[in-house]
């Protein structure tokens, strides 16, 4: 099986949220409550246990001379999703082996194994995984593993009316992203960029994005870190602590333990 990926092109997104709806319908995910956030038209908030696709509405101050005809405000949309990291913090952290790497290269939580320890939640550098309080287990985008198994594209990509969400073979998509970027740049949108943190410790993602302007306005971290990079430091400290505890206790009792 080939390694697949998402390329979400925010320059094509019209903010219709069809991907959110298609995802919820196909995967049988419950609603998130109906509350007004006050943040543009985004009342979904963030990815979580019941939100596996999230359309961001980025209202920002436009930069003159970069294409488009926005007045006071530029309005960009981008559909966020689990990044399916090449080195995934959640997968490394999972103590039950519930989180696995599938044959499509995606990161998948096996719902029949997960016991809801919640360690993946604190280990995701993108804040994607969340424990569902009413169910107890952790949930996130499955990359429509069930659909991919039978050769179908993920529900969100299929429902996207503008092909903002592209699905395909990862190397293919990386090439397409570069081609699209060249087109955008030739049209004067020099602030367009590809988000695919290849030079960070997560070593690239299987969900890439084309965004305009600063990726941080889309809550995309410039340098995501897989938490296992801290293991060496921490276990070294643990080893020293164990040595000191053992040595110190031995010394204390050899020197003064005989006395009541």
């Amino acid at each position: 099986m080939s390694i697949t990926a998402f390329l979400t092109d925010s320059t094509l997104c019209i903010g219709c949220k069809a991907c959110e709806v298609a995802c919820k319908e196909w995967n049988g995910v419950s609603d998130d409550g109906f509350e007004w956030s006050g943040y543009s038209y985004d009342n979904t908030g963030a990815l979580g246990a019941s939100t596996w696709r999230h359309v961001k509405f980025v209202e920002s101050t436009p930069v003159p001379g970069l294409g488009g005809n926005a007045g006071d405000m530029s309005w960009a949309f981008s559909s966020d999703v689990c990044k399916h990291c090449e080195k995934a913090g959640c997968l490394e952290a999972c103590p039950t082996g519930s989180i696995v790497r599938t044959e499509f290269g995606s990161v998948f939580i096996q719902p029949d194994v997960c016991n809801g320890c919640g360690y993946c939640v604190s280990s995701c550098p993108f804040g994607v995984v969340e424990r569902n309080p009413s169910d107890g287990r952790a949930f996130k985008c499955t990359f429509c593993y069930d659909r991919q198994k039978v050769g179908l594209e993920p529900a969100c990509a299929k429902a996207c009316p503008t092909e903002s969400i592209k699905f395909g073979e990862i190397d293919d998509l990386r090439r397409k992203a570069q081609e699209r970027l060249d087109v955008l740049h030739s049209r004067g949108m020099h602030d367009a960029a590809i988000y695919d943190p290849l030079d960070s410790s997560v070593a690239g993602t299987h969900a890439m994005f084309i965004v305009r302007g600063d990726a941080r306005a889309y809550n995309l971290p410039p340098k995501p870190e897989v938490p296992t990079v801290y293991l060496k430091k921490a276990w070294t400290s643990s080893g020293i602590a164990a040595g000191l505890l053992l040595g110190g206790t031995l010394l204390a009792f050899l020197a003064g333990g005989q006395e009541k």
Binding site: E59, P95, N115, A217, A241, A255, G257, E259
Partner: protein
């Protein structure tokens, strides 16, 4: 809306004139730019490199409930207690001390699993933890350590009970020695692995303390174990005094380190409620028991024992507060949307590291 132009302060004619003005401006310019027309709540939130995505936190807060800090405390004290009990036994120290240390370790080994299991989203699936052993997952390593420790500590205490009640025999001695060896071997990592557990996460205040946390937690656990033993009546034992003093000195140093490291990631340890709890835990674990112990060295008889008991109580309370504080700080840290969005977070860290090294 400014008060001067608020509709309530205007006469009917003024209001009508105002509507005409608005109409004229709308007609002539196609848009309204009259300042007073900003609705309440304006300016609207904007997404930007400075504001992030409207300041929405990127990271999720740890889903753990009250059981986890309590488990950190119990595990730390039980692990250190097993180490004290084993070494005391090997060095031929006071048998009552060995017995009590074993009971504390065994109590911890009995309390810890239920705490851990009840925090799970699906407690009935606890056994799924034992499907695999993953060295790259601190929680997997921790669960297996707990299993080994629990078995060892429970066996040692059970053997203790058998030999106390029915007198020593060969099988009991074998069980006792095996249990004790296991509780020592697993107790050493068990008393501090929780520092690795939270150190290797995406939460900034935790992972930026990854090298400190295991040592910090080990000292905290040792302070609590010594404290509980002293409160059980061993407040004349010189070895315990030395260990308690060592733990207090280390915790004082750790407290100073927390106070003096000026890093944005470590703010929750100094500010707000989590900062207050961190300080309270630090003072109760470090300087207070330290000074009380030093004072007890110069005091005589009953007064000395009383001072040590006070130091012991302070250490136990401090250890518990310290664990609560670190979990609380993790929550505060996860809510800070600025940290994960910092452009050159790594470079900044490197700069800090260099300046810290230079300062040292």
């Amino acid at each position: 809306m400014s008060d001067a132009l608020s509709a309530r302060n205007l006469s009917v004619e003024q209001r009508e004139r105002r509507l005409d003005e608005i109409r004229r401006e709308a007609e002539s310019r196609g848009t309204l730019r009259i300042v007073s027309e900003r609705p309440s709540g304006a300016p609207f939130p904007r997404a930007s490199s400075e504001n992030g995505y409207y300041g929405t936190p990127l990271l999720k807060q740890p889903p753990w409930t009250w059981e986890i800090p309590l488990y950190f405390f119990v595990g730390g004290a039980a692990g250190a207690s097993a180490v004290i009990g084993s070494i005391a036994h090997y060095t031929g120290a006071d048998r009552e001390l060995v017995r009590h240390a074993r009971w504390i370790a065994a109590a911890g080994s009995v309390i810890s699993p239920p705490l851990l299991i009840s925090d799970l989203g699906r407690p009935e699936r606890f056994l799924a933890m034992l499907r695999v052993f993953k060295p790259q997952s601190a929680m997997s390593v921790g669960v297996w350590t707990l299993l080994g420790f629990s078995g060892g500590a429970a066996a040692a205490a059970f053997a203790q009970f058998l030999s106390d009640r029915y007198g020593p025999s060969l099988p009991v001695r074998v069980l006792e020695n095996a249990g004790q060896a296991a509780s020592l071997a697993f107790g050493l990592p068990f008393s501090n692995y929780t520092g690795v557990l939270i150190g290797a996460t995406a939460i900034p205040v935790w992972n930026q303390s990854a090298a400190d946390l295991p040592l910090h937690f080990a000292a905290s656990g040792l302070g609590a174990a010594v404290g509980i033993l002293e409160l059980m009546g061993h407040n004349k034992n010189r070895a315990l005094q030395a260990l308690g003093l060592g733990a207090a000195i280390f915790e004082t140093w750790e407290g100073l380190r927390i106070e003096t490291r000026n890093r944005e990631e470590l703010e929750p340890l100094k500010r707000g409620l989590s900062g207050f709890v961190t300080r309270a835990g630090g003072v109760l674990s470090g300087p207070i028991p330290g000074m009380l112990r030093v004072a007890s060295l110069f005091a005589g008889g009953r007064r000395s024992r009383k001072l040590r008991s006070l130091a012991a109580a302070s250490s136990v309370a401090g250890s518990l507060l310290t664990r609560i504080a670190w979990i609380q700080a993790g929550h505060v840290s996860a809510r800070n949307w600025r940290l994960p969005l910092r452009e050159d977070a790594e470079q900044l860290r490197e700069d800090h590291r260099q300046s810290e090294l230079a300062a040292d």
